[in-house]
């Protein structure tokens, strides 16, 4: 047995049906042909000297006239159509080539100069954005305060050990308001609560962002300048249970759902009962690691029910109003969120670091 030759072996055998088969084969092959070499291969295969079509044309002379006319006509149509499709494909290919010769679209775009807010500003705003929708109004106050607002009105008596937790920078200038005591750099944002309560009657629902100061020598976890956000809600019936509800809503929103929290009794002179709130350490999931000092929990904020002595100091009827207050360190929350280990990063302002906060 010899293999059938692709051309001329059975010239009389090229039928109309075979031409149709050739056309089908060509159509499917050209569909995914793009490169010029491939197109040339197809031209040789279907129209070249050794192609079935060329062989068929050569055989036309030996066919009877009625067959010759039909086959000839069909072969001619085949040839014209194949050439047209090849030309189209070639054109498409060259159009694609000329497009890549245009601009290199991988070149970088012209980004406008990009600025960023400081991470402390971003964190502060993120915290405020949790409370403002719950009806808390943002209030601010001075950084240079008087002893009365920073201590006395907050039930932190002079010469009391509870003042020790609030070591304070004093201003080297005699006070201009002797009744309000010496001037100092506020050691917490709580004086703003006092000022707000003096100015307004309850109900009151405020959040206070601000810069505070304590004479702690600089190290990885202490800075003499840092920031707090404080909150206060006062009316005739707000409860400790409400405080828990509001703070849980905040913690869920800020740290995401599923964050385990716990309320732990603590002492603050200006609240009673007082609590500290911890979240489960996200680094070790409560097992204890270096982030949480092996405790498994990380202290996030302090809070409590406003002490009646504080209401008395601002002239509120302590038997008819009640309320809660809370406060948190902004640096601490930011450090937890971004895994920052050194508080000094915030105030050294290396632009290569600041650029990393969206």
């Amino acid at each position: 047995m010899t293999e059938p030759e692709p051309s001329g072996a059975q010239p009389a055998g090229l039928t109309l049906g075979q031409i149709d088969a050739q056309w089908e084969a060509f159509s499917s092959e050209i569909a995914d042909a793009q490169r010029p070499e491939k197109l040339e291969q197809l031209r040789v295969k279907y129209l070249g000297r050794k192609s079935p079509a060329a062989a068929g044309l050569k055989q036309l002379g030996v066919l009877p006239p009625e067959q010759r006319a039909a086959l000839g006509k069909r072969l001619n149509v085949f040839k014209v159509e194949v050439e047209r499709r090849l030309a189209e494909a070639a054109q498409r290919a060259s159009a694609a080539t000329s497009r890549t010769a245009g601009p290199d679209l991988t070149l970088p775009g012209d980004a406008p100069a990009a600025g960023r807010l400081h991470p402390i500003t971003q964190t502060m705003q993120a915290i405020l954005d949790c409370f403002v929708p719950m009806g808390f109004e943002v209030v601010e106050g001075p950084e240079i305060e008087y002893e009365f607002y920073n201590f006395d009105a907050l039930n932190i008596p002079k010469d009391h050990p509870s003042r020790e937790a609030f070591d304070t920078f004093f201003v080297d200038a005699p006070t201009d308001r002797p009744r309000e005591g010496a001037r100092l750099l506020r050691s917490h944002t709580s004086p703003v609560q006092i000022r707000a309560m003096q100015r307004r009657r309850p109900p009151l629902r405020i959040v206070v962002p601000g810069r505070v100061w304590r004479p702690d020598p600089l190290d990885a976890s202490h800075s003499f300048m840092f920031h707090q956000v404080e909150g206060l809600m006062v009316d005739s019936r707000v409860t400790f249970a409400d405080l828990k509800g509001i703070l849980s809503a905040f913690l869920t929103r800020y740290f995401g759902p599923g964050t385990a929290t716990r309320f732990r009794p603590h002492f603050f002179p200006f609240t009673e009962p007082s609590a500290e709130v911890d979240i489960a350490c996200s680094a070790c999931r409560g097992h204890g690691c270096s982030t949480c000092e092996q405790k498994g929990w990380i202290e996030i904020l302090g809070c409590g029910m406003v002490h009646p002595n504080v209401f008395k100091a601002v002239g509120y009827p302590a038997d008819r109003v009640q309320g809660f207050a809370f406060g948190m360190g902004v640096e601490r929350l930011c450090m937890l969120k971004y895994g920052i280990r050194d508080i000094r990063v915030f105030f050294e302002n290396d632009l290569r670091v600041l650029e990393q906060f969206q």
Partner: protein, 678 residues
């Protein structure tokens, strides 16, 4: 833990107990191991001096776990033993000392204390000295009552006087330091001189030594404030002063004295041969009216009176009802000096109940519209300004706002204008910054030295200045640029004065404030001719300039930096109501360019003033397209190309009309500014 178990039979493992204590408000910060025994390290808040002893912790453990405290034998013993030779004790300063119990022990043999005691003291960070001193320290740690042992033979006339220090008195304390006593310091004296600083530290001369055989054991109550002031004035703190400052149990003075005497007898031999109890007996216990309904209303819970009674009994309170079942009379134990009001008992209730078991609710509250619209709009404006700065391409920085005198003078800031701290941590951070300049340049230095060569920064923060006798705190916006403002592979723009001015223009425009202008001025910190005062609506609102070379050199900087500092109050008070909208004209404007040569003395604002003079038939808007000064124009002049746009609100202008005005403007420039058409 083994020591604790001598007071309360607790069987919980250390970790479990630590957790329970923490959740009850006695935070266990660490669990250490000492000689195979777990040692809990607790953080005791200043309101709980009663927990500064093993007994105090045992009481808490009993309250938390529901176990009973073990009774103590010494307490059962009659306190007034032998009265043969009572010491002479006189309290002259009754305000400073409420009670003073002195026991005399004879036949004491001083030597080292037993190993078990030394081990326990060491676990508490107390150094062992001898069996007598160690016994007093041990009882202090065990019961929280500070004690002191004197060598009785070294007390003149075997007398104790509690009194205020007289002028120029001094005492050499146990640490070997001779201390001049401030007038009025509460002291323990013998017949001649002070022998101890009351509640703080004993004197070296009357201390128990190896040769001591007779001792006077002091157990007393001193005024917290007096002890605190003395300890502060002398810079001397001790285990004693720490406890007295916070307050000791007035009913614990006698049992501690008895316990210590008994312990010394056991360890060093000796027997009590005399005793004197001077001063007042403990005052009555505090009684607090506690209303269950009130507590429930404040905590958002529903406790029954019975529940309150049993819970408060766990912390050794005696509860009686008065009138209704809701109103209770609570007698507080003497060691809980922190419990003075009903709210204090509410906290006790809450912590014993468990904070985690208290309900969690969302408050029902009335909507309170902002009572202080001025404050809230200011807060909003501050936030907007920050966001505008960032959107304009500036990085927000936040340097430490305390600066040094050296930095102030390097930045040409007067030290007299700056407010100094009375107690700075260091000279590096002794002054409140009087401007944002120092901080911005500090940040510039930090970044330039790290190889970050292009700076675009802003800070919005308070500055503090002294003006006359008063101190003014005010907000400032500071901008600083250096290097390249922008750089891409197609173009680059240098940071300079005009970049800074453009930024300020964007801010003021977007904040709805008027136009910002620069009036040339000479500034101490800026290059001459490269500085000015910022005018907002014609009023001074800040400064702008290129930092002077000597300032850069003083700070170790070598790259030009441009700075601006603006008082943003003018931006915050900008118009609140928007001007009504002007619809765009449907009639397209006619554009003409104009190129003129003008003398150097002419300012662009002079040219603009003429071009923007009101015209009858149309409005003219001019925009600077190019400015050239150099070889291609005659010396003493420069060229300006201005794009002019002529428009009419109601119709399309004809070329003839525009040409007439255009020619008139050219003529005006030529006549009034000596300009030449190019």
């Amino acid at each position: 833990m083994e020591w604790l178990r001598e007071h309360v039979p607790v069987r919980l493992p250390a970790e479990r107990l630590a957790h329970r204590l923490t959740l009850a408000g006695l935070e266990v910060t660490e669990i250490e191991q000492a000689d195979g025994q777990p040692v809990l390290v607790l953080e005791i808040t200043p309101n709980r001096p009663d927990c500064l002893s093993m007994l105090g912790i045992a009481r808490e453990v009993a309250a938390i776990t529901g176990r009973r405290l073990k009774p103590h034998t010494e307490e059962a013993r009659p306190s007034r033993t032998v009265r043969a030779r009572s010491p002479r004790i006189r309290i002259e300063d009754r305000a400073g000392c409420s009670r003073y119990i002195g026991r005399v022990l004879d036949g004491v043999r001083v030597g080292p204390s037993p190993e078990w005691m030394q081990r326990r003291l060491a676990a508490c960070g107390v150094r062992a000295i001898n069996n007598v001193v160690d016994a007093t320290n041990y009882v202090l740690l065990d019961r929280g009552q500070p004690l002191h042992a004197f060598d009785l033979d070294r007390l003149a006339q075997e007398t104790i006087v509690v009194r205020a220090a007289r002028p120029n008195e001094a005492v050499t304390t146990l640490d070997g330091v001779r201390r001049i006593l401030p007038l009025g310091t509460l002291v323990i004296a013998d017949a001649e001189r002070p022998v101890a600083i009351a509640g703080v530290m004993g004197g070296a001369e009357s201390a128990v030594t190896d040769r001591t055989t007779r001792i006077l054991l002091e157990s007393a109550g001193f005024d917290p404030l007096r002890v605190r002031r003395t300890a502060r004035a002398l810079g001397l703190a001790s285990e004693s002063s720490y406890r007295f400052e916070r307050g000791v149990d007035p009913e614990g003075i006698e049992p501690a004295s008895a316990a210590a005497a008994s312990l010394i007898g056991t360890l060093a031999g000796g027997s009590v041969t005399g005793m004197r109890d001077a001063g007042r007996p403990p005052s009555k216990r505090t009684v607090i009216s506690f209303n269950v309904a009130h507590a429930n209303r404040r905590l958002g819970i529903r406790w029954s009176p019975t529940e309150v009674r049993t819970t408060l009994a766990r912390i050794f309170c005696r509860v009686a009802s008065s009138g209704t079942s809701e109103a209770l009379q609570v007698t507080v134990p003497s060691f809980r000096r922190d419990l003075t009001q009903a709210v204090d008992l509410e906290e006790e209730m809450a912590r014993l109940f468990g904070y985690d078991r208290l309900p969690e609710t969302i408050p029902h509250a009335a909507i309170a519209p902002a009572v202080d619209p001025a404050t809230s709009s200011r807060v909003a404006a501050t936030r907007r300004l920050r966001e505008l700065c960032a959107a304009a391409g500036l990085m927000e920085v936040m340097p430490w706002a305390l600066v040094s005198a050296a930095e102030l003078s390097a930045c040409r800031e007067s030290v007299d204008d700056a407010v100094r701290l009375a107690n700075p941590l260091s000279q590096d951070h002794a002054y409140l910054r009087p401007s944002l300049r120092v901080g911005l340049l500090r940040v510039a230095k930090r970044n330039l030295s790290q190889g970050v060569a292009n700076l675009r920064m802003f800070e919005l923060g308070n500055v503090v200045r002294r003006s006359g006798g008063s101190i003014a705190e005010s907000l400032r916006l500071g901008l600083a640029v250096s290097g390249l403002w922008s750089r891409t592979w197609r173009a680059q723009a240098p940071a300079d004065l005009f970049q800074l001015k453009g930024l300020l223009q964007v801010m003021t425009d977007r904040m709805g404030a008027g136009a910002i202008q620069i009036a040339p001025a000479s500034l101490s910190w800026a290059e001459p001719g490269q500085a000015g005062t910022l005018l907002l609506d014609q009023r001074p609102a800040g400064v702008i300039g290129q930092v002077a070379r000597p300032v850069l050199e003083a700070l170790g900087l070598d790259q030009p930096i441009w700075l601006a500092e603006l008082d943003p109050e003018g931006l915050f008070q900008a118009r609140h109501l928007h001007a009504s909208l002007r619809p765009p004209s449907p009639f397209p404007p006619v554009k003409r360019d104009l190129s003129v040569l003008v003398p150097d003395a002419v300012k662009f604002s002079d040219v603009l003033a003429i071009l923007h003079e009101p015209q009858e038939a149309m409005t003219v808007t001019a925009q600077l397209a190019d400015r050239y000064a150099g070889d291609r124009v005659p010396r003493g002049s420069y060229s300006l190309t201005v794009s002019l746009s002529y428009a009419h609100a109601e119709r399309t202008l004809t070329a003839t009309e525009v040409d007439a005005v255009h020619q008139r403007l050219i003529r005006a420039l030529m006549d009034r500014l000596d300009a030449q058409l190019r």
